[in-house]
């Protein structure tokens, strides 16, 4: 089964970290990804640009509404994800706990459909 681990953390806190600390945290993310790819548990992942770079799009009737900024202005924002291949959601949660943001933010784990037929 595949699971999406959605990473939520405080962007301001991240940006105000001293450079060395930010670099070492980034290193831990890369390490998590590298280790996971080797074992086969991590099959994908991306870091998103900060929410200040986000654009939100809605279509209502014939009108397209484009606004600057993220979908929701929250303190802890979605900052990236890992795609996990695990036998159960418990196993996925165990891996999610090793993602650095779990220690100050939160990681949401959600089963993912593999195709549009609803097969997991």
């Amino acid at each position: 089964m595949q699971f999406m681990a959605l990473i939520y953390s405080d962007e301001q806190a991240w940006e105000s970290l001293p450079d060395a600390e930010r670099a070492s945290t980034l290193e831990r993310y890369l390490e998590f990804g590298k280790r996971g790819r080797k074992s086969g548990a991590v099959v994908g992942g991306d870091e998103l640009a900060p929410t200040s770079a986000a654009t939100t799009v809605r279509v209502r009737g014939d009108e397209t509404l484009v606004t600057d900024g993220p979908y929701a202005e929250v303190k802890e924002a979605l900052g990236g994800y890992f795609l996990l291949e695990c036998d159960s959601i418990d196993e996925a949660c165990g891996l999610a706990a090793q993602i650095p943001a779990a220690q100050h933010g939160a990681v949401e784990v959600r089963p993912t459909f593999l195709d549009t037929e609803g097969e997991r």
């Binding site: 959605l6 998103l48 939100t56 979908y71 979605l78 779990a102 990681v107 997991r120």
Partner: protein, 119 residues
């Protein structure tokens, strides 16, 4: 530039629909999805998309002082929840916005477009 197109919608509205309503809604949006996938595939043959299971199936993981805390449910209990992500390489933000308007869920939910950081 690689973009993430995150699809937010009200999943409870979908879950509360009767079987017939859901069927009619699917039939109405299916041609739009097919047209979207065709256009996305033309712009980026490597486009990737993941549909997430309902937010009610989510678990949220936090580690505080070495202790792992796992709670049932999504990170944020909001009416609209993230239901899927598209990842695609597009020439610019305007193209990404144009694609976002064609995602059927943009008509009642919201699509957040965000650049992906390349490492």
């Amino acid at each position: 530039m690689k973009y993430a197109l995150m699809v937010y919608g009200d999943q409870s509205a979908w879950e509360q629909m009767s079987e017939e309503e859901a069927k009619a809604s699917r039939a109405e949006s299916m041609p739009k999805w097919i047209a979207l996938f065709e256009e996305m595939g033309r712009l980026d043959p490597n486009v990737d998309g993941k549909e997430l299971d309902s937010a009610t199936t989510a678990k949220t993981v936090r580690v505080r002082d070495g202790e792992t805390l796992i709670s049932d449910g999504p990170f944020a209990e909001t009416k609209e929840q993230i239901g899927g992500i598209f990842l695609t390489d597009l020439p610019d933000l305007d193209t990404a916005i144009a694609i976002a308007t064609k995602i059927p869920l943009a008509e009642h939910g919201s699509i957040e477009v965000r650049p992906v950081v390349e490492h």
